[in-house]
Amino acid sequence: MISVLALDPAWWQQTFLIKVPIGLLAVLLPAGTIVYLYLFKAISFMQSRLGPMEAGPYGSMQLLAEVGKWLQKEDIFPTKADKFVFAAAPFVVLMSTFLLVVIIPAGPDAIFVDLDAGIYFAMAVSSVSVIGILMAGWSSANKYSLLGGIRAAGQLIAYELPLILAVVGVVIQAGTMNMQGIVLAQAEGEILGWGGIGNPFIFTQFIGFFIFMVAVQAELTQAPFDMPVAESELVTGYLTEYSGIRFLLFFIGEFASAAVFSAIAAVLFFGGWYVPGIDPTNDIFNVIGPLILAGKMMAIAFLIFWFRFTFPRFREDQLQRLAWKFLIPLSLANITLTGLLKVVV
């Protein structure tokens, strides 16, 4: 069976009927895993408590119970809300996540769309979520939501720039914007003439990785950059008026985005679906590639949630200062250095 899959792996790519469920799975499964493993369990252990224990073995069915709860709840629209915008906002946010999943390679052929400018596309569609959040904040007719939405817009736009600039270093080194090309460049690269483990860009682009992760933390509005949803100040910011299924959509969007950004980081800095020791052209990667990518993704996602539950929250002006006065100059320096080394070496 595996050999059949491995020999003719592109068959599932062709059919729309198979693509859609796999796409849904690729968004929901990592999001659910992250919620259970990190948000429910790992964090509980860090905070010296057990987390959910009753629903299923070790509370593993808790998320299903929560989803069931949200589905049953009334979908409340505030009286003064702009109904259409209010209803559409969660879908805009979720759309951004789904568009991001499209370009992530999980194997040599296991990719939805192999765009030549894949990472460029990713950076572009990741900004779409800002619009959804702004829509949610504005249409809720709630002052906390408004403050949260405006904060989110300012923050996401400010951190778009370091995010893109951090990626530029990788693109220069790989010589391509194609996501598969970036993976292959790492798989076939050499560290000082030794090609034993390829050349994961984390070794050369560690500054880029640091900036990327900080910017991702801000893009995902996780602590220490969670002022758009700061629960001790703004109740829950732009989410305040949402309930039921629309809140669930935002919730999925948040954690699926965490998964997707972790996967992009895994592709850019840790070689994506590649593991050393196997020829990257080997078709076996179409089968084990998704698992390898998922493993790397989960490791990076752990960082995101570890930081989230460790640090206090910045203030809005401090966040902007960090972006414009520290991260952007640092990433520009990183690009300059990468470019110089690329020319010299």
Binding site: S48, Y144, M227, T310, F311, P312, R313, F314, R315, E316
Partner: protein, 390 residues
């Protein structure tokens, strides 16, 4: 001043109308944000009305009274021993500490003094409730600036202290243990040794909080230079406790105006911090928790033997007179002004609670800060709603 009843009513109505105008009318100069009475950061039902320009606060005003329970009036229909049941619900986190000043005031009126052993045990429990109270502040302050984890450590470790209080008094939160002329029961067997180990745990907790919260760069960025109270302003607004000492005023009732507790017997230090900002208030409270550990440890070594109750009549009738006793409670100065007319019940009790004065500085302090700083400044002032509204 309004003198007749109708004038008074008119005055109150005008006040109420003013409050309504402040809250409801939107001006062109910005937005009125109504924080509370139901808001995650108000520790209960404090309401803050803030006029905003963008995220900057133009004016902010705390509106109190959503949890007014009328304790001052209720004490007038309760006998003296019954009053402690009520008043330990004022500052519900350090409840034993609430009972002490009232009992001391009543003792002053009756001219009885608790035997030394009772005084020592009182002081130990007083300091234990200080640790139980402030340890929660150390975690809660971190929550208010956005770190979710420390408060769980605070709840976890506070439980050890509450267990010790429970073993002596029978109540975790509301001990109702202090009596006129002494205390209700003696210490249980092995309690002193256990408390010693709990003190060790609380020291570790303080170290943990110092590393996790106080040493964190983001926490410092959020609190340093924020909400600065100069010493003269702190005194003018009647601040007390760590808020006052955080502004560099070296005043502690335990040292400077001690009544009835045995702080003179131990070697301890009053901590002050010159900056007067949110950070210094946190710092002072952290050091005070450590100092409380030191005090308890020294007291446990030398609890004298002897009776725990002085000779008091079975039915307590307090002779006519007036007495005011204040103690340095976890939140600051708490004073009871007791007027007796020789009855079974007090004629009038005026409660001077720390949080009420501490929160009164909020309009002055919140002018010109950002919305997130409202929360962090209020958290650093550290009030308990029951202590504000009584």
């Amino acid at each position: 001043m309004a003198t007749t009843e109708s004038e008074q009513m008119a005055y109150i109505a005008a006040q109420a109308a003013d409050a309504r105008v402040n809250v409801e009318v939107e001006t062109n100069e910005g937005m009125t944000l109504n924080l509370g009475p139901q808001h995650p950061a108000t520790h209960g039902t404090l309401r803050i009305v803030a006029k905003l320009d963008g995220e900057k606060v133009v004016a902010a005003e705390p509106i109190m009274g959503y949890m007014h329970r009328g304790y001052e009036k209720l004490t007038e229909v309760r006998t003296y021993p019954q009053v402690t049941t009520l008043i330990n619900r004022i500052d519900w986190l350090g409840s034993f500490a609430n009972e002490v000043p009232f009992i001391l005031a009543a003792e002053q009126l009756m001219e009885v003094e608790a035997p030394p052993r009772a005084q020592w045990i009182r002081t130990v429990l007083f300091e234990l409730s200080r640790i139980a109270n402030i340890s929660l502040f150390l975690g809660d302050m971190a929550v208010q600036v956005g770190a979710t984890t420390p408060v769980f450590y605070a709840f976890r470790d506070r439980e050890f202290v509450l267990n010790q209080i429970e073993r002596v008094t029978g109540g975790r939160f509301h001990p109702n243990f202090d009596r006129i002329g002494g205390i209700k029961d003696d210490l249980p067997k092995g309690w002193i040794e256990e408390t010693g180990s709990v003190i060790g745990k609380m020291r570790d907790f303080c170290d943990e909080m110092e590393e996790l919260v106080l040493g964190n760069e983001i926490f410092q960025a959020r609190t340093r230079g924020i909400g600065v109270i100069p010493p003269n302003v702190a005194l003018a607004y009647g601040l007390s406790g760590a808020n006052l000492r955080g502004s560099g005023v070296d005043w502690d009732i335990r040292r400077d105006a001690n009544v009835g507790l045995v702080y003179d017997e131990v070697d301890w230090k009053v901590w002050t911090h010159p900056d007067g900002d949110s950070f210094s208030r946190f710092w002072v409270r952290l050091q005070e928790t450590r100092e409380a550990c030191n005090i308890i440890e020294q007291l446990l070594d030398g609890i004298p033997a002897g009776p725990i109750m002085a000779k008091v009549p079975l039915i307590i009738k307090v002779p006519a007179g007036e007495a005011y006793v204040a103690t340095e409670n976890p939140l600051g100065e708490m004073g009871f002004y007791v007027v007796s007319q020789g009855d079974l019940t007090p004629f009038r009790v005026k409660i001077r609670s720390a949080s009420f004065s501490n929160i009164s500085i909020a309009p002055w302090l919140l002018k010109g800060v950002f919305v997130p700083d409202i929360i962090s400044i209020l958290a650093s002032l550290y009030f308990i709603l029951g202590d504000i509204d009584r």
